[in-house]
């Protein structure tokens, strides 16, 4: 069916984002232990909106319309379950009487800015008592309005697995009293780290997966940018690492068009057409990176962004400033000691000093055993052997890498490497 593009544009993720806004407000009203209740109210609200708007058109102030419907549904719920004392986060005698109930609920729903509610929601979803996987799933579900099926698709997982993760997270909310708030000064930096990591994982999932349906991939990138920008809207969370993370997103996204050729095959950095890199994203990244330097807090994201930027400013692959990149990797390794970072650093050493030095650097990686199931570990070693002219060893490693990746595109790339003579 013909789809009117202007209509579609007006709607661009309205439901998703309104869902995130309303779930956040209602979670504050009901408390995180009633997250499921907040989600039900919002689902009902959106369903009612859809059924009415599809026939009558979208009202001019759609968010206000949705807010009012959600507020009325919340009011009904509180009225119906007044005796269940734990339905509202803040206990107030005003909720006890029918005369004061409606104004009291209005007060509860309005009392803070929308951004603050969504930020509090972010900190709640990324509470350290939850696993990183649960945190990311929860962020997508509550703040980005993804369904369980959509989250499963985004993470190449099954709805069952995602459902379990979300269930466990909600169980935690029920058992532990987790406050719905932006943490205070003394724990803000540590908690912000959790939030940034979840957004970072979200972005990587969208960025690294080459087999995904393009739409889901694009949605994840957009959502991670949106959440990052949300953190910048409040002075309390407007911290240097947030700027650095956004810079990193822009720099990495800038290359995404050049990463795939016309046939949908993966192109490595050295084979990419640098004219296809997105200049406007690069300049946004530059601006965020400048901002990220205002302050004393340097995070791993600063160094990652600096590395990504360094690749972008090189006129050609041969003109890459490997020495500076190595310097950033050393800093990154100090900020976030991880075998994966060390592996990437070994690639840089290989570029600077040749494949033998690269292999040597790999052998020295602390915690190298943790990389055995990582396909890139084998692919990179294979690459070094290939450069040394050792085809037999190279193909052995490429084959191992092929076994470990689930991506068809990656498999194709590895097969083409094995066939090179």
């Amino acid at each position: 069916m013909h789809r009117d593009s202007t209509i579609h544009h007006a709607l661009e993720h309205l439901f998703r984002h309104e869902s995130g806004r309303l779930v956040s407000i209602l979670t504050r009203v009901f408390g995180p232990h009633n997250l499921g209740l907040a989600e039900d109210v919002v689902q009902d609200t959106l369903l009612e909106a859809m059924n009415s708007w599809k026939i009558r058109g979208i009202p001019r102030d759609a968010p206000a319309w949705l807010f009012t419907v959600a507020r009325n549904k919340a009011l009904d719920l509180i009225r119906k379950e007044k005796r269940h004392r734990d339905i509202v986060s803040v206990q107030s005698h005003l909720l006890e009487s029918e005369y004061t109930l409606a104004p009291a609920v209005d007060e509860l729903m309005k009392s803070r800015s929308i951004q603050d509610d969504q930020l509090s929601m972010m900190f709640t979803c990324c509470h350290p008592s939850l696993s990183a996987e649960s945190q990311v799933a929860l962020v997508l579900k509550t703040l980005c309005g993804f369904s369980v099926a959509e989250i499963a698709k985004a993470f190449i997982s099954t709805p069952d697995t995602i459902e379990k993760r979300l269930y466990r997270a909600k169980e935690k909310f029920r058992q532990e009293k987790i406050a719905f708030e932006i943490p205070g000064e003394n724990e803000l930096d540590a908690r912000l780290e959790n939030v940034l990591l979840a957004i970072y994982l979200l972005f990587n999932e969208g960025y690294n997966s080459t087999d995904h349906e393009d739409l889901i991939r694009k949605d994840l990138l957009e959502e991670s940018l949106r959440l990052g920008e949300l953190l910048l809207q409040n002075a309390v969370t407007r911290k240097p690492p947030v700027y650095a993370l956004l810079a990193l997103f822009c720099f990495n996204s800038a290359r995404s068009k050049a990463r795939i050729d016309n046939q949908g095959n993966i192109l490595l950095l050295k084979d990419q057409d640098r004219n296809l890199w997105d200049r406007s994203l690069i300049s946004s990244g530059e601006q965020w990176l400048d901002k990220s330097a205002e302050g004393e807090l340097f995070s791993a994201y600063h160094f990652e962004a600096a590395i990504s930027r360094e690749h972008l400013v090189a006129k050609s692959y041969d003109q890459t400033n490997w020495e500076l990149i190595l310097y950033y990797y050393d800093l990154l390794l100090r900020a976030r000691p991880s075998p994966v970072v060390a592996l990437n650093r070994a690639v840089v050493i290989g570029e600077m000093k040749g494949p033998a030095a690269g292999l040597e650097a790999i052998e020295k990686i602390p915690g190298i055993d943790g990389l055995q199931n990582y396909y890139l570990f084998h692919a990179i070693i294979g690459e070094f052997y290939a450069k040394l002219g050792n085809r037999e060893q190279a193909n052995e490693y490429f084959a191992k890498a092929k076994e470990l990746t689930s991506s068809e595109k990656e498999k194709q790339l590895l097969v083409s490497k094995m066939q090179k003579e």
């Binding site: 439901f15 859809m50 599809k54 058109g57």
Partner: protein, 113 residues
């Protein structure tokens, strides 16, 4: 031209994601657009779920007629069409069939015979 009422039932499932709801809504609005351009669309109203049923000599009021599921009437259109067959063809363009929706097509009776 005759007038016909398209009565939309269901789909009544609450499992759609916000994105799917938005997509569905976009399809409906595009459909109405198309019907407008073809000068078929006369009017339409959505109906809230729930409602009351008044019945019998004692005018007993109960909840209903249908309160959930596929039977619920979600709304209606009045459209112009040549005959019932053409109206039924228009009804086939409704975006809700995949989600289990149904459309009842009824001719509006003319009083000026």
């Amino acid at each position: 031209m005759e007038k016909f009422m398209l009565i939309f039932h269901g789909p009544g499932s609450a499992t759609q994601s916000p994105e799917q709801m938005e997509e569905n809504m976009g399809k409906w609005m595009a459909w109405i657009d198309k019907l407008n351009k073809e000068e078929r669309y006369v009017s339409g109203e959505p109906l809230l779920p729930g409602g009351k049923l008044v019945k019998g000599a004692d005018k007993k009021v109960t909840d209903g007629p249908y309160t959930e599921g596929k039977e619920v009437v979600g709304g209606f259109f009045i459209i112009n069409a040549k005959d019932l067959a053409e109206a039924a063809n228009v009804a086939k363009e409704c975006p809700d069939f995949e989600q289990g929706g149904t459309v009842q097509v009824r001719q509006v009776m003319k009083m000026d015979m």
